[in-house]
Symmetry: C2
DNA sequence: CGGATTAAATTGCATTCCAGAACAAAAGAC
DNA sequence: GTCTTTTGTTCTGGAATGCAATTTAATCCG
């Protein structure tokens, strides 16, 4: 059809339009002009090519039926207008997917990790993405890029991705130089918790929220803070790494801590996923759950009093019933401390924590559609 | 001379230029072009009117003397190019100033509060600013606006300034409608702690820093968080109100708490400023200081692990020797907890906490010179 | 039924702002 | 004295938006 991908020609206000539709749902050109404080003519001009290229779709507005005036046509994002690939790597497995703009996974794959070397992992991940592309028959021009995430904290130079404990032998990884070659498209990276947070921002419980915090419970305790619809990373990308509030030498509400507590009772599990339903009935697990709930209540209170987010979303890879129990406990702990004279932030349950590679797949979307990541020189007119 | 004030015609890149000079010091047009990734021709075109209007001044660059090429001319901000007024109101007094762009107060005034009604206070504040304008003989066209700050927390509708405890009888205050009429120029508002933080950003210890947190110790415990050179307010502007981490029913590191502790020992002081040097030697004050230092250490640890700022700046209206002691104690508490594998944030002493009205005076500067507050329609070129 | 009214969407032209390229100016280097 | 280097300027063109008039399709109402 045409040579250039449908997202490559978006102007700054073009991104704002996509962003507004994503946040506030399908709406007319006139609504967009009012919301974004730009002229209707600008909206018409910018949306024209987007509709032609299949990025947006038009539909009549039923809610305005029976009212005077020219009937409005609602603009919606066509989920299949652009797709992205997501790669999640942990010490045990590689999980990949092709996802559309609605966050639906068109295809997923899970591959065991044979060898933890950087080369072996990236070779396998690249091959997996290529297989998924083949299987779904996606037009490569519609692929906006590939997101890659893996657990671990950052350290030192923020332009480079950190080496992490589980992958000690990896080289010093630089996204552009070391990651991109394996996937044949632009590559973005964040650690597992921050990528999972992006999935909640674009496809999950926090869709369109401007300011919220994320708590990620896996083997460790991770997290992220979203400020004005972008991740706030802080110094060395250490912001919202809540684990730092719980010293490793003491009991903490992490998956590894649960495994340690179980092991001390003689129940040795290798992975979190080995935790079966009947384990949950054990007194030792009940006890851990109660203590972890207290610690999470305290954590949410601290988050509420520091970031004052609109919401706190909690997700992770612990057993679903553990997650549910912890979230219920935090919700019950209102009013989140004394001295509160306004309503506390909403406590939300993550919706996309079952598919960690979806978070990675959200990274290219952020890069391409978010106004704040618009590249190049800047001008503003008034 | 000319009819419009020198700051009113700044384009978006014009603001970026001012901002870059403020952050990185005097520099040549070529430096600015490289730093901001815009063309030298653009810098020439934009700086021309600024120099002509007296907003910028030119000087030869001694550091490039003896080197090849056309000698560079350094551009500096002329502190007197634009001035602002600042008004700080507390239950006991009204403090006002006229300040220039360097944060020098050209004139200050302190007036006792006769009557805490909104009308009386604003009448007196407006008259005071008018007297200062008269005294300094400032050209009204050079006045960018007036900042107004007073202590208290926000609640409810963030478009309106909150009613606070000390001023319970005030009406529901709306900045545009209720504050502007008294001062004859544009008015901006933040509470005392957040305004003080703006003074540190523009004139003090954190000049030009992108991300930092502020701890404000007065009768209460306030604070602010700066993200990308703008205040991050959060839900209901409650972000970084650190006092929320210390329930009022228990000992907390606030000035009011110190007065309460002293009162319990039979030493009844009415105001913080009544605390004399010899009070500091009392065992009860020593004890309070020690406990408050522990609490501040904990607070800074929490800030470091949540916001991960580049720096934490501590200021307030406590006795200077108390402030110094507390800051020293926090600095000595490195490494700010275990599990830290990168350097902790710098602990800085506020430089402008002696003149609270200067924080208010920084608000119009932020509004006028910060790229992120640029009004009107938006476009970006690439 | 048909003109008046209403609001959305479109079109052509004007304006604003920046990039690009050629050029001018001032200094040291050879 | 000419060449080289770097800063700074000028002028033109292009990209993006605003502005104002116009078209379009629906309801309202006599």
């Amino acid at each position: 059809m045409d040579g250039s991908p449908p997202h490559s020609s978006l102007t700054y206000n073009g991104r704002r339009i996509i962003s507004a539709i994503r946040t506030h749902g399908p709406q007319s050109r006139a609504d967009l002009a009012r919301r974004l404080d730009i002229k209707p003519s600008t909206v018409t001009r910018l949306t024209g090519p987007m509709v032609a290229e299949g990025l947006l779709t038009e539909a009549p507005d039923p809610s305005r039926e029976g009212r005077k005036g020219y009937p409005a046509r609602l603009l919606s994002i066509d989920p299949r207008g652009v797709c992205t690939a997501g790669v999640y790597i942990d010490p045990d497995r590689i999980m990949t997917c092709i996802a559309d703009l609605a966050g639906d996974a068109l295809a997923v794959e899970e591959t065991p990790v044979p060898d933890r070397s950087f080369e072996a992992l990236m070779t396998e991940a690249g091959a997996s993405v290529a297989r998924l592309m083949e299987r779904t028959g996606i037009d490569p021009r519609r692929m906006a890029g590939c997101g890659v995430s893996y657990p671990g904290q950052y350290s030192g130079d923020p332009t480079r991705v950190a080496r992490i404990r589980q992958f000690r032998d990896w080289p010093e990884v630089n996204v552009e130089r070391d990651l991109s070659p394996w996937f044949g498209m632009p590559v973005r990276h964040m650690n597992d918790a921050k990528a999972a947070c992006m999935a909640e921002l674009y496809h999950g419980a926090c869709r369109g929220l401007s300011n919220f915090c994320h708590v990620w419970l896996s083997y460790g305790i991770g997290g992220a803070a979203i400020v004005d619809q972008q991740p706030y990373l802080g110094r060395n990308a250490l912001a919202a790494e809540w684990g730092g509030l719980f010293p490793k030498s003491r009991p903490r509400p992490s998956g590894q801590d649960l495994l340690d507590v179980l092991a001390a009772e003689g129940i040795v599990l290798d992975r979190l996923s080995d935790l079966r339903d009947d384990h949950l009935e054990l007194p030792v697990v009940r006890g851990w759950e109660e203590r972890a709930a207290d610690q999470l209540q305290w954590l949410c209170l601290v988050i509420a009093r520091t970031f004052a987010p609109e919401a706190i979303v909690i997700g992770g890879t612990l057993h679903p019933r553990l997650m549910d129990g912890l979230i219920q406990a935090v919700r019950a702990a209102e009013p989140l401390g004394e001295d509160y004279f306004v309503a506390p932030p909403a406590i939300l349950k993550a919706e996309q924590d079952g598919l960690p590679q979806l978070g990675a797949a959200a990274l290219p979307i952020h890069e391409i559609f978010n106004p704040s990541t618009y590249p190049g020189a800047v001008s503003k007119l008034r």
